[in-house]
């Protein structure tokens, strides 16, 4: 055994160094914990794909006409639409349901919709104790629009990130994009 190694092993210098380090940390270093959700609120990044909502027009009526394109596109088949024939042969959307626990948040439904009726919001804190709470009915989805997409902020979010086909089929200059096709313009958001 070398002299230094022997001296090290009988003086416990390494052990003492380790103990000193943890004591220093204990006394002087502040914890790095971010106390979400009580003290620190973490907001979604712009364009986050959160909880679903059904859009309303200016008169407060549901934009959805029940064409069923979203359900047809949906890869996880979590959108269920039931329609009936109403007065003067108009199509009536009886039920529009999204099984959020099955949704993969790809956003294809929003891209498919020709009327800009379904959208994803920035809201993502919707944990619950019951499975039923994650099964979004038409009423809940319309409520979500009022809660999370009302006002100018919601409108901008909807237009900038979802580029609804009902508004503008080709997009416009300064359009925000998810993909890296326009990395420079992303900073303008």
């Amino acid at each position: 055994m070398k002299k230094e190694v022997f001296l090290k092993s009988i003086s416990f210098i390494d052990l003492i160094k380790g103990l000193a380090f943890t004591l220093k940390t204990f006394l002087f270093t502040k914890p790095v914990t971010r106390r979400y959700p009580n003290k620190v609120k973490i907001y979604a990044q712009p364009g986050f794909r959160g909880l679903h909502a059904l859009a309303k027009d200016e008169d407060g009526r549901m934009k959805c006409v029940g064409c069923g394109l979203c359900g047809a596109y949906c890869p996880s088949q979590c959108i269920h639409i039931y329609t009936t024939e109403g007065e003067d042969h108009k199509k009536v959307v009886d039920r529009y349901e999204v099984d959020v626990l099955r949704c993969i948040f790809c956003g294809f439904c929003v891209e498919a919709c020709p009327f800009g009726a379904i959208t994803l919001t920035e809201h993502y804190e919707y944990s619950a104790y019951k499975k039923e709470d994650f099964y979004m009915t038409k009423e809940k989805l319309l409520d979500n629009w009022d809660k999370y997409m009302s006002g100018e902020k919601g409108r901008r979010y909807f237009l900038d990130f979802w580029r609804p086909k009902s508004e503008d089929f080709t997009g416009y200059k300064g359009q925000a994009m998810f993909s890296k096709t326009k990395p420079k313009e992303k900073e303008q958001v």
Binding site: G18, L19, T22, F26, T29, P31, V32, T33
Partner: protein
């Protein structure tokens, strides 16, 4: 009234019943306070370790997370009690009780402050060592009865570890016994108070060091927690235990830590007294009640347990055995020889 009792039961019955009543009261006080300490030892450990790892630790249940131990206790109490199908049922039931009872029994001989001790027996220190080895039976039985390879290996490891380190612990305390001339813990504390340095940790530094290291192994704490090494044995000997039986092992383990810290405090750090040269220098300190000093020393040693735990990685099993047999036991023996020589020489000089 007193006469009436004496005539119908036996002469001296009232005195006897009073005596029993006082002892029962003391037992209840000691057990309740010790279990509260154990409960908050888990909280204290989580807080200390969290701060050493740049975290905060429990803080959501109650103010500063102070009710966390009770929340954990309630959770454990209502958990499903699972018993493996092939378990040896009577032994499986008995093992946590033996472990927990032997840990709690040790509390009876600890003097917490001057004159307060449930059983002031003259072989207190020997009794403590006996109880801590009795706890090993609980561990071994749990490992054997669980019918699980992890529990079995954990039990085996624990048995050999506790037997090896018991020798070191016993030998390291012999120096204290020689210096104090008694096995009674109160007498040991008083002997320390009469000693010039006020605590035996200074003349018995070798024994103190051996005791501290061996106490870590004896209570299955890191860096010697091989009987319950998570990365190898899931949870070691109590892998198959759940619910309240698991809680008994858990409480027993933390009580064991509390007792080891208390033994170190009583035998090496002067128990409820502080050295005379300090009280001569700062006389107002002698008005502080003894329990404060005792608890401060115990808390400090508990803190050291957590400090060591959050600093060191686990030893390998052969390293553990090598430390026990090749380092600690020879050191403890050397300490005994030195202490004996000094004692007999100083006696010869007188």
């Amino acid at each position: 009234m007193e006469k009436f009792f004496e005539t119908i039961v036996a002469p001296g019955a009232v005195d006897f019943m009073l005596y029993i009543g006082v002892i029962l009261l003391k037992v209840i006080v000691v057990v309740v306070i010790a279990l509260l300490h154990v409960a908050f030892a888990t909280y204290f450990e989580r807080k200390v370790m969290a701060r050493m790892q740049l975290r905060i630790g429990p803080r959501e249940v109650g103010p500063f997370g102070l009710l966390q131990p009770f929340a954990d206790g309630i959770k454990l109490f209502f958990k499903e009690d699972i018993i493996p199908a092939n378990a040896d049922k009577p032994i499986f039931y008995l093992a946590p009780i033996i472990f927990f009872a032997s840990a709690l029994t040790s509390l009876s001989v600890l003097p917490f402050f001057s004159g307060f001790v449930v059983a002031d027996i003259n072989i207190g220190l020997l009794f403590l060592l006996a109880m801590s080895s009795l706890g090993a039976y609980g561990i071994m039985m749990a490992g054997w009865a669980s019918d699980s390879k992890f529990a079995f290996l954990g039990g085996l490891r624990s048995a050999s570890q506790i037997i090896s380190y018991e020798i070191a612990i016993g030998l390291s305390l012999v120096g204290v016994i020689i210096m104090a001339g008694s096995l009674n813990l109160s007498d040991i504390v008083i002997a320390q108070h009469n000693y010039p340095t006020g605590m035996f940790a200074i003349p018995q530094f070798l024994g103190f060091a051996v005791f501290l290291v061996a106490a870590l192994a004896e209570t299955n704490r890191l860096p010697f927690d091989l009987p319950e090494a998570e990365s190898e044995l899931v949870a070691g000997y109590f892998t198959e235990y759940s619910g309240f039986r698991f809680a008994m092992f858990f409480l027993g383990e933390y009580t064991g830590m509390l007792i080891m810290s208390s033994i170190a405090t009583l035998c090496f750090l002067g128990g409820w007294t502080i050295p005379a040269f300090i009280t001569n220098f700062l006389p107002f300190l002698s008005y502080v009640p003894g329990i404060v000093w005792f608890l401060a020393k115990v808390y400090f040693l508990m803190f050291c347990y957590y400090w060591v735990r959050s600093t060191f990685p686990r030893y390998r099993y052969d390293q553990l055995m090598a430390i026990g047999w090749k380092v600690l036991i020879p050191l403890a023996l050397a300490n005994i020889v030195l202490t004996g020589l000094v004692k007999s020489l100083s006696k010869g000089l007188q």
